[in-house]
Amino acid sequence: MIWLIFAFGVWGLGWWVNTRLAAAPRTRVTGLVVPLIFGITLIAIWEGVVRGLEISPVLLPAPSMIAARFVASTDILWEDFVQTVIKGALSGYVLGCGSAFLVAILVDRYDFLRQGLLPVGNFVAALPVIGMAPILVMWFGFDWQSKAAVVVVMVFFPMLVNTVQGLADSSAMQRDLMRTYAAGYWATLLKLRLPAAMPFIFNGLKIASTLALIGAIVAEFFGSPIRGMGFRISTSVGQLALDLVWAEIVVAAVVGSAFYGIVALVERAVTFWHPSQRHS
């Protein structure tokens, strides 16, 4: 009961502090502190509820337990991180986004491909990963290569569709201007369409950044070496080591958010001119 009251108390306190902070002028510090307080509040509520309702650690461990496990297992977590994130997700991300970008430029260049490939592409994009993963594991073996392949498949189409849409996003007048200069294909591409497409391209890169991590982890459920975040999660669930499961999830969330954040930072630097970046 005490713990439940504690949970509600923290909730109220966190909300109050954040409202005050948000009302103050926005600075770099409040931009970081506010979500942090929000998160800490959530975690405190979690701790309070788990203790207050005496939820079995086999179902949902308390954050303190997860933290203890995290500290005790850094070597395992690091090994899994390298296997899943560095080898699987990152290589797949680079390969998938890179090839989607190039294909998008081809699709955009040749109308025939645009009309033919895009509808088919949309169809292929709808193939659920859960179904693709076992097949790709079968084709590319159980090590990280098949994980990268899953990531490639997952990120390819969001990136393709966004880039193609972005390349078509310049306004009529901007394009007319290029026409009056009799600018050739490449000049128009480099000086107008790519810059104009950047907001969309970054949209694609951001979506892909969360997909990449999920893809690499999910693929490990369908066969893997005995390391990797997906492997650890499924194995530990089977062993009821839920604290380790959540430690891995924490790693996934932190890495995923950081990945997303980095892409968003680069976006801010590249598309500083876009209205959505200017006033918020």
Binding site: D176, R179, T180, Y181, A182, A183, T271
Partner: protein, 272 residues
């Protein structure tokens, strides 16, 4: 009378028609029926002429300019630029175009925007810098080279877009209300600059404006249009000399031409 005028105009520059339109027609299809934007428009513009287009808003001035620039395709009729189709002329980079709205690229600074056509047309780095500096000076924007478009006032953006069209050497200048958002003083200044540039370089200029004095002051020929459907109602050859100090605007000849333009405009409005 109109017919005579047209014949006049047609004959006057038989030698070297830079732009020649014959019986142009253009209709836009919209959700509630077609809009007849240009009807039976014929006009010849000779080399080195300065032609102003004036007419009520919505009469098709922009549309006509866009036809010359190969940005719009007439529904029927014929138009040639430098003796070839607008498309070929465009590909030969025969003209600079100033749009009615500034249309600067938001990701480039003012300097970068002016440099854009120069980069595309392959001017040397050194040449680029030199030209950018020169035209920024011309439109009184020196010092704003590093600013982004949204940091400029409306008039400043418009001047930047004029500078962009002047930065490279095109024989033909197509300008759609370039001085609309400018105050009288800057406008006078730019009018003078434009005239001297024109005299110096012998460019052919097609110029849309709403100001009667401006049209009379600048032009060798004034084309009056009227709306729905857009057509040419009067073509006035200016009797003014090529040399035009600002105070020419107080001479009787000037006032007389201005009067005629005003009458033509008014007639167009009455049609309505």
């Amino acid at each position: 009378m109109i017919v005579e005028q047209l014949k006049d105009a047609t004959e006057f520059h038989r030698v070297e028609p830079v732009i020649s339109a014959k019986n142009l027609d253009l209709t836009f299809q919209t959700n509630d029926g077609p809009v007849h934007a240009l009807k039976d428009v014929s006009l010849q513009i000779g080399k080195g002429e300065f032609v102003s287009f004036i007419g009520p808003s919505g009469c098709g001035k922009t549309t006509f300019l866009r036809c010359m620039a190969d940005l719009e395709h007439p529904t029927s009729g014929e138009i040639t630029v430098n003796g070839v189709s607008p498309e070929e002329a465009r590909k030969a980079r025969s003209y600079g175009y100033v749009f009615q709205a500034a249309g600067l690229y938001p990701w480039r600074t003012i300097g970068g925007n002016i440099r854009l056509p120069l980069e595309i047309m392959g001017y040397s780095k050194h040449d680029q810098a030199e030209r950018v500096a020169r035209v920024l000076e011309l439109v009184e924007l020196a010092g704003f080279e590093k600013k982004y478009p949204w940091q400029l006032s409306g008039g400043m953006q418009q001047r930047a877009s004029i500078a962009r069209a002047l930065a490279f050497d095109a024989d033909i200048l197509l300008m759609d209300e370039p001085f609309g958002a400018l105050d009288e003083i800057v406008r006078d200044h730019l009018n003078e600059q434009l005239l001297s540039l024109w005299a110096r370089t012998e460019k052919t200029i097609a110029f849309v404006t709403h100001s009667i004095p401006e049209a009379v002051y600048l032009s060798t020929k004034i084309v009056v249009m009227s709306p729905r459907p857009g057509r040419i109602t009067d073509v006035i050859e200016s009797p003014l000399p090529k040399e035009r100090p600002l105070d020419i605007r107080d001479t009787p000849e000037f006032l007389e031409v201005a009067h005629r333009v005003r009458e033509g405009l008014r007639a167009g409005h009455l049609d309505d």
